[in-house]
């Protein structure tokens, strides 16, 4: 069953949407970089955003937790609904949104001045919240990010002593400590080796049992392995970035509606 929007190639799965972007446009200074993006993210689904570099997928993902506005010159039109409430409505504190919608960045960026444990608890400290049992929280978050066994004996070591892949899993654990409902991941594996990548993909599958995940990726195999639905972004010469096609991952990869999608998923460009 397909729900049609302005773009006939955009199909949405039939489920409650947890997070929903409606008609998002983005400008940087006067430059229009993203046009009319409307996507629905059902509860506990994994959505992959694919497309060549510079198509606006990383920009888009930052509009979902109000990180976009921190970039100087950023502009935005449209709305994003989280549990049917507009996160851009006047009077909404962006901090409350970022606590509910977590984010993992492209480059692993643990806080170098903190220990491993300190990094997991950084979100609590930064948002001035407390938990009853810190050790338990640290263990459960590291476990869910499948890092616990590797670091349980050196929780007080500086975060910089970990390998790149471990650092990225630490960043995931750090986000999980705030118990977000949605986790945004901006090319989380692009700086990692295949082994680390595989482990993070496993983590993503596990996380999706109780949270909604949106992941930007360059890697089409990765999109196929981890996601339920996929959106294909494209910015053609002299045009702003936009969504060419959106639908279930299986459909989009096996029988794309748009020739451009077909070319891209078959590796003919990008």
């Amino acid at each position: 069953m397909n729900l049609q929007t302005q773009n006939s190639n955009i199909a949405v799965m039939d489920a409650d949407s947890h997070l929903e972007a409606r008609n998002i446009h983005v400008w940087f200074k006067e430059r229009h970089v993203l046009s009319d993006v409307s996507l629905h993210f059902p509860t506990n689904s994994v959505t992959a955003l694919i497309g060549p570099s510079g198509c606006g997928k990383s920009t888009f993902i930052r509009t979902l937790n109000r990180m976009h506005e921190l970039i100087p010159g950023a502009g935005l039109a449209g709305s994003v609904y989280l549990d049917n409430e507009d996160i851009y409505a006047a009077g909404v504190d962006p901090v409350t949104i970022r606590l509910r919608v977590g984010m993992v960045f492209q480059k692993p960026n643990p806080f170098p001045t903190m220990t491993i444990k300190g990094n997991v608890l950084a979100g609590l400290r930064l948002s001035n919240r407390r938990t009853r049992d810190e050790d338990e929280l640290v263990e459960s978050c590291l476990n869910r990010a499948s890092l616990w066994n590797e670091v349980k004996d050196r929780l007080d070591a500086p975060a910089g002593s970990l390998s790149g892949g471990q650092q990225q899993r630490l960043c995931i654990a750090r986000s999980l400590a705030l118990a977000p409902e949605v986790l945004l991941m901006d090319e989380p594996c692009s700086a990692l080796d295949p082994g680390s990548t595989r482990r993070i993909e496993e983590t993503i599958r596990e996380l999706s049992s109780d949270m909604t995940v949106v992941i930007v990726t360059h890697n089409m195999q990765q999109a196929q392995r981890v996601s339920d639905q996929t959106a294909f972004f494209l910015a053609e010469e002299g045009q702003p970035g936009h969504v060419v096609e959106f639908g279930s991952t299986d459909n989009l990869f096996s029988s794309p509606n748009d020739p451009r999608t077909e070319d891209y998923v078959n590796g003919r460009f990008g």
Partner: protein, 311 residues
């Protein structure tokens, strides 16, 4: 071409640069050695009392030369300067790097760098004619309303020449220095870390406290020590606004009784006898050792911070 010739030319090139390097390195020792030789007479005649006593008498023979009040005064003025300068400098650095619009930040940055090169004699001139009238009023207010706090108690009507005013003057001198260093290290904090903090629900305040300051901490500390070094060795700016009195004043900052090693040297030097010059050289040695320690600590902290940031 003859390879031996090439090597010879290069050898001369390296010899010159090596010689310059050793010359520079030896200067620090030369300063210490020469001043120590010239002041040996004072150290041996006055003994430890040189730094623990409070009398300066050049008229009698052999003369008594003791600088405790000047040493204490130097420390008091420098600490007062830091108390005023450190919070304000860090605040201004934060303002420039994290609050101001880019254009304002750019102008403020060059202005601060320019002011860091402001001649101290100009600050002294300003302190003497512009700051003192205001500072005297402030001191009066402090002593009448907060006189119950030991620091602000005074038995004098007028605070002209008090350590408080000298500390304020020194603060104005070192604010640009500390701000300049703090701004630089705050600006070098990885923007990715600041983004990460925002994404974790950090507010401006918690991001500054948990991420920016811990990362920039050692750099800022280096800047503070640099400012302290300048404050300890500052001469003319203090000379104009501070009364030099040979009576140790540990903490009553509003009483016009101060001391300062560098100012002492300037004020006595022109008419000094040979023995007094030796005593002033000795005072210089003490001051130099004090600032050298502060600067070596500062240098090693900053170099370690730079290495850490680079890795």
């Amino acid at each position: 071409m003859n390879t031996r010739q090439v090597a010879k030319g290069d050898r001369a090139f390296f010899a010159v640069s090596t010689a310059a390097a050793f010359f520079t390195m030896s200067l620090v020792f030369a300063v210490l050695i020469f001043l120590s030789i010239r002041s040996w007479k004072t150290f041996s005649e006055q003994g430890l009392a040189f730094i623990t006593g409070s009398t300066w008498d050049a008229t009698s023979t052999p003369g008594t030369f003791q600088i405790l009040p000047m040493l204490v005064g130097t420390l008091v003025v420098s600490i007062l300067g830091l108390i005023i300068a450190v919070p304000t400098s860090v605040a201004v650095a934060y303002f420039i790097e994290y609050m101001a619009p880019p254009k304002v930040a750019k102008i403020a940055t060059s202005l601060i760098d320019l002011l860091a090169a402001l001649p101290s004699v100009v600050i002294g001139l300003w302190g003497l004619y512009v700051l003192i009238p205001h500072a005297v009023t402030w001191s009066k207010l402090l002593s009448t309303h907060l006189g119950f706090i030991p620091f602000f108690r005074t038995d004098f009507d007028n605070a002209q020449g008090a350590p408080f005013i000298a500390g304020w003057t020194v603060a104005i001198m070192i604010i640009p220095i500390i701000t300049s260093v703090s701004r630089e290290v705050m600006g070098r904090v990885d923007k990715e870390l600041v983004s990460a903090a925002s994404a974790l629900g950090g507010t401006n305040f918690s991001t500054m406290r948990r991420v920016v300051l811990p990362t920039a901490k050692s750099g800022i500390l280096g800047g503070i020590l640099l400012g302290l070094g300048r404050a300890l060795g500052e001469t003319v700016a203090i000379f104009f606004v501070l009364n030099l009195v040979f009576e140790t004043n540990w903490y009553r900052v509003l009483e016009p009784k101060g001391g300062n090693v560098a100012s002492l040297i300037v004020s006595k030097f022109a008419e000094a006898t040979a023995t007094e010059i030796s005593a002033l050289m000795a005072a210089g040695v003490v001051l130099f050792v004090l600032t050298l320690i502060v600067n070596m600590i500062a240098t090693s902290i900053v170099q370690r911070a730079e290495r850490k940031m680079a890795s």
